[in-house]
Amino acid sequence: MAPHARDAARTSPVDSLVTRHRLRPLELLPWVLVIPPYWLFDTYLPLGSEILIMVLFALSLDLILGYAGIVTLGHAAFFGLGAYTAGILAANGWGEPISGLAAAAAVAGATGYVTGRIILRAHGLTLLMMTLVIVLALNEAANRMGWLTGGADGLSGIEMWPLLGLFRFDLYGRTGYVYAAAVLFVAWIFVRRIVHSPFGRSLTGIRENVTRMHAIGVPVRTRQVTIYAIAAVLAGIAGGLLAQTTQSVALTVMTFERSGAILIMLVLGGVGRLYGAFVGVPAYMIAQDNLARLDPVYWYFWVGLMLVVVVLFARGGILGIVDRARDLVVRRRP
């Protein structure tokens, strides 16, 4: 028996998934980088928390856009639902953070499941328009229901209880930062397991060739609705985190602009590769923060220019550039 045939006989599909997707040391880099700012940039911790929250939001978008290939301009709907759910609970006397997040996840996830079942029958432009309609409709609903959401003035009076009954949400955002980082860490483990599971591989198959997936017996619609609902849950958690750490909710949590911005951040980092969110969001938000200070009038122009450059010259985003640089180095080595 030839050696390769023996290898083949020994390896089960599950083994191969495990070995190919064993945790590489580089994957822990974001978690190392998350620690120093707590001491080094303590005046920037609120920005830091927001970055972590947006990373979670982008990660949830990557599941449906990068893996399942569902293009959406309405993902902020779930972020906003999560934010309003957690915010309204806390403003009405239930400020316990963890259960608030669970409620945010449940509301966003249920909405994701129901709307997903309806809109995922459509494809392409129709689907895109429907995602847009959902975020616009929910935004208007939040605007009209001022008695519940605070409308255009925003939701105020949020009072959070101490995290786990121990850590108060302080003025400097220390608790918020650690809280956001911990939630993101748990979500990352969860998402990583999903994309490396056979279910995750079938999403890639659906993105690349729907007809083929049908023909090998995969219930494509069911899989799409499932991942859409899971992404909605994660986006809802991200929104809930924002409401809890900033202790306010404005209508801007649930806008087309936020849907677009998160899409841009993800594309900037790299789509469909799990770590695009971890690279694109900090790059965009830190650049935005600095540009707004350096050039308060035209800062949006510089953000736009940066995006045009990335789209034109760096397919695959920042991580795509890293890949190509690594290929160059590896190839040059004898």
Binding site: A215, I216, G217
Partner: protein, 239 residues
């Protein structure tokens, strides 16, 4: 005509189908008992691929009935059909480029008879390429992978759409040998659409020849193979 559904194999009854309003297949009837092999022949554009696609539910069915494994599958969603045991290998192979060879197989894994190891045993070339991505394969390897992926769903019927097209003679031999093995060891029913009429007729027990969406020959493949004149008339191949 027997009631479709009474038959355990594949049965088409007066199937009229096409793409949208366009009708490609005109009242096609055929039956393939379990474990039998069928060569589906005809000139270019007569509807051979459309017939396979219709069995999978990829086309618009205008009339008739399709039954498989005792079930009426005429209106069954496409994704349920492989679960009844129909494996489909499309002409374009359609490997998932972002999945590795092994993942292309595991993503289709359903049953217990077939495993990655068994596909590698059938196609040792794939074992050597297991970590290659789907877009880093030769044409022959892609074809093997596409067949392997269909087998991972544990089919009892394999639909092969011009699997030998554009491949080197040595690969053609290897593939034909693997089809023979599937027929022999797995008693798999196979529908083979092929331009190499002689190769297909020598392989299959039954033959169907289509012309402009209609059946013009239905019977024994040995009979057709022996009748050079008739074959020339039906297929336009020189005696």
């Amino acid at each position: 005509m027997a009631d479709p559904g009474a038959d355990a194999g594949l049965a088409l009854e007066a199937v009229t189908a096409g793409y949208g309003e366009t009708v490609v297949l005109d009242r096609i009837s055929l039956a393939l008992p379990p474990g039998q092999t069928l060569a589906l022949l005809g000139r270019n554009g007569v509807g051979k691929s459309t017939l396979l696609a219709t069995i999978m539910g990829h086309t618009t069915l205008h009339g008739g009935r399709i039954a498989f494994a005792g079930t009426d599958i005429t209106a069954l969603p496409t994704w349920r059909r492989p679960r009844l045991g129909i494996g489909y290998v499309p002409q374009e192979r359609e490997i998932f480029p972002s999945l590795s060879v092994e993942e292309n197989l595991t993503v289709a894994a359903r049953g217990t008879r077939w495993s990655v190891a068994r596909v590698y045993d059938l196609f040792p070339n794939l074992a050597r390429r297991r970590t290659n991505m789907g877009n880093q394969l030769s044409g022959g390897e892609q074809q093997m992978l596409s067949i392997g992926r269909a087998l991972m769903g544990d089919p009892t019927l394999l639909l092969l759409d011009e699997p030998l097209e554009g491949l080197a003679p040595v690969i053609v031999d290897a593939l034909m040998e693997s089809f023979a093995r599937l027929k022999r060891e797995d008693s798999l029913a196979i529908v083979l659409v092929e331009q190499h009429a002689r190769l297909a007729l020598a392989f299959a027990t039954d033959a169907v020849v289509l012309d402009r969406g209609r059946t013009v020959y239905q019977g024994d493949s040995a009979t057709l193979l022996a009748d050079a004149e008739r074959m020339g008339a039906l297929l336009g191949v020189a005696g």
